[in-house]
């Protein structure tokens, strides 16, 4: 028994929003012995956080503030629910990263609303843009808010907890028929940024579109992502985080682990499971069986990730 009442009249709106929140909270990360390790999404991570010393950081993604279609008529509301969960955490993370699509249509009001809600977490937030954040004619709203001190279209790096973090932009200069794109200038900068770093320094790369090829038929990959991965090959621990596909996926390749994050706004189908990657509309009563919790446990030198998927309703 789930303890929830699921009568024939279906799940009410409040419960649907509850589900959306479950789907869209954040992923909590901790640095253990210099290596980032996922503690799973916030709720499942709470107990672990209390017992785990050291730096933790949080990832949220794909807020799509302004989205109001049936898949989730209140994307701002579910973002707020996610932030409320962040605020309820017993141990405050050191900072947060947001892996893009903060807004749905890059409107000033959408950026304002997103900022008003996310700032309630009182955490430093390191952003990278999604393609939905670059839709204004002059592409200035994102840059004016979040681009200070960044290079090119908004890439940058910083160090925290002994880890080197690199925020990359792969949503500009996209070519017809192609995938996400980093471009020669950014790749040259990345190579330079990593030069001279000790190979024992853990590296976290984060970008909006997956840097690895998840499903090219839907554009889920980055044309020149392989070049970026070449530059980090020699490092002992590399973690690649992204959003864009609104679902959890992991892959391990040598010393590199890839993780995608859920959206705080709406789910998207598994690769090839629908006619398009568009927002997944499901009946309210069905939603609980289609959304769930995935906790990821990653330790260096282990080839396999322990992934526990827990649907909200079996």
């Amino acid at each position: 028994m789930s303890g929830h009442d699921h009568g024939d009249d279906g799940v009410n709106r409040r419960k649907v929003l509850e589900c959306m929140t479950w789907a869209g909270t954040g992923v909590l990360w901790t640095i253990t012995g210099g290596v980032p390790r996922s503690l799973g999404i916030i709720d499942s991570a709470k107990a672990a956080t209390a017992a785990t010393p050291g730096m933790t950081f949080l990832q949220i993604s794909d807020s799509h503030v302004g989205f109001d279609k049936p898949a989730n008529p209140n994307a701002l509301g579910t973002l707020e629910e996610a932030v409320n969960k962040i605020n309820a955490m017993p141990v405050k993370p050191s900072f947060m990263i947001h892996t893009g699509d903060i807004t749905h249509l890059s409107k000033a009001s959408e950026f304002d609303n997103a900022d008003r809600i996310i700032s309630q977490s009182k955490l430093d937030v390191h952003y990278v843009p999604g393609e939905h954040d670059f839709l204004d004619e002059e592409v200035k709203f994102y840059r004016e808010r979040y681009g200070r001190g960044t290079k090119g279209a908004g890439w940058y790096s910083f160090d925290a907890g002994g880890v080197h973090f690199v925020g990359l932009v792969n949503v500009v200069d996209l070519k017809g028929g192609g995938l996400g794109n980093l471009g020669a200038e950014q790749l040259a900068w990345l190579e330079d940024d990593l030069r001279g770093k000790s190979k024992s320094t853990p590296v976290v790369l984060f970008a909006h579109i997956p840097l690895w090829t998840v499903y090219p038929q839907w554009g889920w990959g980055t044309e020149d992502g392989g070049r970026a991965l070449e530059y980090v090959k020699g490092f002992g621990s590399v973690t690649v985080l992204n959003g864009h596909i609104h679902q959890v996926m992991q892959k391990v390749e040598g010393n590199v682990t890839f993780h995608t994050a859920r959206s705080t706004a709406f789910p998207q189908p598994a690769p090839g499971a629908a006619a398009s990657p568009g927002p997944m509309k499901v009946e309210d009563a069905k939603l609980r069986s289609m959304l769930g919790v995935a906790s990821i446990n990653f330790k260096q030198n282990e080839q396999r990730l322990a992934i526990i998927d827990t649907p909200l309703q079996g």
Binding site: E131, L179, G219, S276, G278
Partner: protein, 109 residues
């Protein structure tokens, strides 16, 4: 009176341009492409010079219609339209600049 004259003149000019190519069906001068499920439908279209094509985004996700150096729509939200009249012959490859795997082609002769 001046406004009316100008409009009449415009209609006359448009008719003069369109008449030579309107030997086929009348609706061939106005064609529609729908964006559904992240695809342009039809993905390929053969038209005559002077044809106006209108793209309509029927997805819940915004898209664009871009042909490098030829035309570029604004971001089309759900149900937004973009219209372009093809006055020169040639092959016009185009794509969505947000989802570049979405491609289409207009052949104008």
């Amino acid at each position: 009176m001046k406004r009316l004259n100008r409009r009449d003149f415009g209609v006359a000019v448009a008719a003069a341009i369109l008449l030579p190519v309107t030997t086929a069906r009348a609706d061939d001068t106005n064609l529609e492409i729908h964006i559904d499920n992240f695809t342009f439908q039809p993905a390929e279209l053969s038209i005559k010079v002077g044809t106006t094509v209108t793209w309509t985004n029927r997805d819940d996700i915004p898209h664009t219609v871009v042909s490098a150096g030829k035309f570029r729509s604004k971001t089309l939200d759900t149900d937004d339209k973009f219209t372009f009249t093809f006055t020169n012959a040639g092959d016009y490859k185009y794509f969505c600049s947000l989802h570049p795997h979405m491609t289409g082609m207009i052949k104008v002769e």
